[in-house]
């Protein structure tokens, strides 16, 4: 392996070096600073005589005398089942003081695309125990369902609750606890405090032993964030599709990941896309999110819950926007609900699970599930609309029916959505609460529910106040 001391330019996270042999695109590079520190990077562009290198750990300390070594291969993640229970840094090095990792295999971290013909359509209901999710935005195995949040909102509590409670009810009695998920946690640029929150929870609940943690913290190099989720997903794919695990991947915070992309793009003086983010951000994000799914003939699955904080709570910002265009729905956290004390503060109206339709119903959840959820959406939307009007004309000016919708919306938030982070509801419990609420409305209004289901479930004698839980 040849060493070069030929750095010609250093700019932000990028280093340009002259070479006299062909270097492969995407290859891994080691740069040794005069102080003896070794940094890793990746070839971003390779031309005859010169290469552009993106340095993961930042270019601080690199000068023109640093030596550059090309490793002749693209970036790999050493994978083994023994990774479960381990804590690694953002580029896959153990930081838990445990033994060295003896890999079974080394996998390219830029995963190849799954052939759409080889995919299996995801349709196994995951019970998260959270009504706003299970009842209204059902998650299934192999889905990618992000949490769209804002700074300071309790998205981590929701993610942890899901990680703790998620089961596939049919399999819950398997003798080997077959329905438990292995959790891959990929942190990108989160604060040490947030990281502790996660680690404490993992340790407290014993989840750590079925988890692999990748930690890139706020004070770790930003460029490293571009490899962290790829390391995490490579591990997830290995465990799912070679070792039959059902894997839940939590990636947080995708916003920091995108900022890192923007930084690299700026350093390369690329023509920026919307709001300064690279024009290829859609493709780049798709190469992460599309690594969720199921594969024909393989036991395991990769389910993704990426978390992102929307700058300015704006869901048209490029980060949530492009994410929403790739993922199979989104769970939307809401600042107003949060200040009302609703836990979790999920606003179901802009939330969506696109894989819900095939994952619910008779034999999967319950035959009334789809209708109940449709009707609750419509009723809550109606109630929400009326709230605006009430502010202007007052409740008295509204009809009886309108007032019922207003009450419905209130109780929907208080009883259905607000359940706390420690309550684990079965899907039956969730749907029964749904019927309690729907029965506030006259039968005629339930036009999205099948008549037979109304007969079976509608509470004829719904008293005005059911004791709140």
């Amino acid at each position: 392996m040849k060493e070069y001391q030929t750095i010609s330019e250093i700019s932000g996270p990028l280093v340009f070096a002259e070479v006299d042999e062909p270097i492969g695109y995407d290859e891994i590079v080691e740069i040794e600073t005069p102080e003896g520190e070794t940094k890793r990077g990746q070839v971003l562009e390779s031309s005859e005589g010169v290469v552009a290198i993106q340095v993961f750990e930042g270019t601080t300390g690199i000068d023109k005398n640093a030596s550059v070594r090309f490793l002749g291969e693209t970036m790999k993640m050493p994978v083994t089942e023994d990774l479960l229970g381990r804590v690694l840094d953002g580029s896959g090095q153990p930081i838990d003081g445990g033994p060295d990792i003896v890999p079974d295999e080394r996998h390219d971290i830029v995963g190849a695309a799954i052939n759409p013909y080889s995919r299996e359509y995801p349709e196994e209901f995951i019970q998260t125990g959270v009504s706003a999710v299970d009842g209204m935005n059902t998650l299934v195995r192999g889905q990618k369902l992000p949490i769209f949040s804002g700074s300071g909102l309790p998205h981590n509590d929701l993610a942890l609750q899901v990680a703790r409670q998620a089961t596939v009810p049919e399999e819950a009695d398997d003798e080997d606890g077959g329905s438990e998920f292995a959790v891959i946690f990929g942190a990108m640029g989160i604060t040490a405090e947030e990281a502790n929150e996660f680690m404490d929870d993992f340790e407290r609940t014993g989840a750590l032993e079925r988890s692999v943690v990748f930690m890139n913290l706020a004070d770790d190099p930003a460029v490293e964030r571009t490899v962290t989720p790829r390391m995490a997903l490579t591990t997830a794919e290995y465990l799912a599709f070679e070792k039959d695990y059902h894997v839940l991947v939590i990636l947080t915070d995708m916003t920091n990941y995108c900022e890192a992309l923007r930084e690299i793009g700026a350093a390369r003086e690329e023509v920026p896309g919307r709001r300064g983010y690279p024009g290829y951000m859609y493709t780049d994000l798709a190469q992460l999110y599309e690594r969720a799914g199921r594969i024909k003939g393989r036991e395991g699955s990769v389910t993704q819950i990426p978390i992102l904080t929307m700058p300015g709570d704006d869901d048209t910002h490029p980060i949530p926007d492009l994410t929403g265009y790739i993922t199979e729905g989104q769970i939307m956290m809401d600042r107003d609900l949060n200040s009302q004390g609703v836990q979790p503060p999920v606003n179901v109206l802009p939330s969506l699970s696109r894989l819900m339709d095939d994952g619910i119903g008779e034999g999967l959840t319950r035959e009334d599930h789809a209708d109940v959820s449709d009707q609750m959406y419509a009723a809550y939307a109606e109630g929400e609309d009326l709230r605006d009007l009430v502010n202007i004309v007052g409740r008295e000016a509204l009809s009886d029916l309108d007032n019922k919708y207003l009450d419905f919306a209130d109780r929907f938030e208080d009883e259905f959505v607000d359940q706390g982070y420690d309550t684990n509801r079965t899907i039956e419990e969730t749907l029964e609460i749904g019927w309690d609420l729907l029965s506030m409305l006259p039968k005629d209004e339930l036009n999205r529910v099948d008549e037979e289901l109304i007969e079976a479930h509608y509470r004829e004698e719904e008293t005005e106040e059911v004791a709140a839980d």
Partner: protein
């Protein structure tokens, strides 16, 4: 992708690699030639030539590829293979069959450097000639028929770039697609397979004004904003508003002979869903499995971006091939925005001067070239065929003022505007009836009048008027509440709410509702109109609006759509409405 490589020109070597864009030195190539790049022979296409440097977009991942590696030129432009086997198949963006790739690669992941012909070369098909020795045939003429699927007979045609002449010999029986089945006196050999460069439209005789609707089975489309066979349509909308569900519904139920579905830069699972569902679902016009009339092209968001750029061309070329046989083809592209972004990505790597929002200046030209390939045609062989093109558009932030939406709207004649508000309240399809339009409406009316009901346009206009009025009234309601309106206006709101709930909404997942034949679309509308007329009579007779709108029968309007026997249901319902309302006065 085509396998034949005739005039191999001078090869070159790689000068630089940056993602999907590779430059080569010493390559003697023409624009759009297909080349094989690097030691692994990755497929690419020449997109720029400047002095000694040739720029190539590579259709596969380029990790590990470096300067100095060879570039081999095939001397041919990017072509597709056309022949039996296109239907009931799923391709990537450069027409490699994905099932074959799975077998060849022995893995569920898409590996690199593996090529596969677009149609199977060894498989034998039963060729049934329709010409005899001595007949004179011209380019485009049909010389025989192959039963490609249970639904579709593929017509074997003289390729458009042949000269034509007198038939010298004709075969009949089982042949592979490379064996000549007809030879002409000038030596031209006709096989069941043709090749065609994807970026070039196949020739036609003339383009005509489309006069027949592409019946979609979707009430709001057929009823208010119909598209013609040979028409163009755009469905823009923010994420999660229903573009894909609408495109899937069209692919399932539109009364076209052939469906070409292009999944361009979208989700893998959505294509899997089609692959799973279509073989099981019945084609409403023939009862055969839907796959038998469908060709799928899937270049998902995580697949190489250059192949995303080419996938719409692959799709439309396949569509033209069936049009040439006299079929009505419908092509769906989901999403044309991802195609435009692929152009932008390649363009920016070429450091071209960016236009609006970084898109290349030729964005608008490319979009119109694409939609221009749709239309109702008279073919060069005298038959008539059509291509309807329906493109989803994914505007950033759902803002329609962006370049792809705007450039598309300048071209297409049907506009189905999806609306985030409607989608949020689960009003599906979330097509905004105020913003959407169809410029084909009038020219299609005669067909609907002849085939459904004379009153088709009148009833539609009634619905549009009620919805318009509702829009205006809602603005007042927002300020003062519903009860402050005069009674007749309150009643109009009630009627409009049935139009919205019962007629405009359609559940794509309900077995009775997902497909709505035009007769049912019409009957549902007239039933609501009937309620309107009876209700206003009652109002005029002095019945308070509260009583009118709370008759038992009215909410049943919302249930027509899901009935097993809607005809009987409507008959009863209309009678009940009349009886219950007249009882009030």
């Amino acid at each position: 992708m085509s396998q034949t490589q005739e005039s191999v020109r001078e090869d070159g070597i790689i000068a630089s690699v940056s993602g999907p864009v590779v430059t080569a030195r010493d390559l003697d190539a023409r624009m759009n030639d297909v080349v094989y790049v690097g030691d692994e022979g990755l497929m690419g296409e020449v997109i720029e030539i400047e002095g000694d440097i040739t720029t190539i977009q590579v259709y596969e991942e380029t990790s590990g590829v470096g300067p100095g590696e060879p570039v081999e030129n095939t001397g041919d432009p990017l072509t597709v293979d056309l022949g039996p086997g296109l239907l009931d198949t799923i391709y990537d963006g450069v027409q490699r069959p994905l099932d074959v790739l799975e077998t060849k690669m022995g893995s569920p992941y898409l590996d690199r450097g593996v090529d596969a012909p677009g149609i199977e070369l060894e498989k034998e098909w039963e060729f049934d000639p329709t010409v005899e020795v001595g007949d004179v045939v011209e380019p485009g003429d049909v010389v025989g028929v192959v039963e490609e699927t249970v639904t579709i007979d593929l017509k074997v045609m003289v390729p458009p770039d042949f000269e034509g002449g007198e038939v010298d010999s004709v075969e009949s029986g089982s042949f592979t697609v490379t064996e000549p089945v007809v030879t002409l006196d000038n030596g031209e050999e006709i096989t069941m397979r043709q090749e065609w460069p994807v970026r070039e439209a196949r020739p036609s005789a003339t383009k005509k004004t489309p006069r027949k609707p592409l019946v979609s089975g979707q009430r709001i489309l057929d009823g208010l904003f119909p598209i013609a066979k040979g028409g163009t349509a755009a469905i823009p909308g923010p994420f999660g508003s229903g573009k894909t569900v609408t495109q899937h519904s069209l692919a399932k139920f539109a009364d076209a002979d052939i469906i070409v579905y292009v999944g361009c830069g979208e989700r893998g699972n959505e294509m899997t869903e089609v692959i799973d569902d279509f073989p099981e679902l019945e084609d409403p016009s023939t009862g055969n499995p839907l796959m038998a009339r469908t060709s799928l092209i899937a270049n998902t968001s995580n697949m190489p971006v250059a192949a995303r750029e080419s996938c719409v061309y692959t799709g439309i070329t396949i569509a033209e091939f069936y049009r040439d046989m006299g079929y009505d083809v419908a092509l769906m592209a989901d999403s044309t925005s991802r195609w435009a972004e692929a152009m932008r990505e390649i363009s920016s790597r070429l450091e071209e001067m960016p236009g609006e929002e970084g898109y290349p200046a030729y964005l608008s030209a490319r979009l119109s070239e694409f939609y221009e390939r749709a239309g109702a045609f008279e073919n060069i062989n005298g038959t008539e065929g059509s291509i309807s093109a329906i493109g989803a558009v994914s505007p950033p932030g759902g803002d329609f003022s962006e370049p792809v939406t705007q450039n598309t709207l300048r071209i297409v004649k049907t506009f189905w505007a999806l609306d985030a508000d409607l989608a949020e309240r689960r009003h599906f399809p979330a097509i905004n009836w105020n913003e959407s339009y169809s410029l084909y409406k009038e020219q299609l009316d005669p067909w609907f009048q002849e085939n459904v009901d004379d009153d088709w346009p009148v009833e539609r206009q009634w619905a549009v008027d009620v919805l318009d009025e509702e829009g205006e009234l809602q603005e007042i309601v927002q300020l003062v509440g519903k009860d402050a309106l005069p009674e007749d206006q309150q009643l109009t709101l009630e009627v409009a709410s049935y139009l919205k709930e019962a007629y405009l909404q359609q559940n794509a997942f309900n077995p009775n509702d997902m497909y709505c034949p035009p007769e049912k679309t019409f009957a549902m509308l007239t039933t609501i109109h009937h309620f309107n007329d009876e209700a206003f009579k009652a109002l005029e007779a002095g019945v308070p609006v509260e009583e009118i709108i709370s008759i038992d029968a009215a909410p049943r309007l919302n249930r027509i759509a899901v009935q097993d026997d809607w005809k009987e249901f409507i008959a009863e319902l209309e009678a009940d409405i009349q009886e219950q309302l007249r009882e009030l006065y």
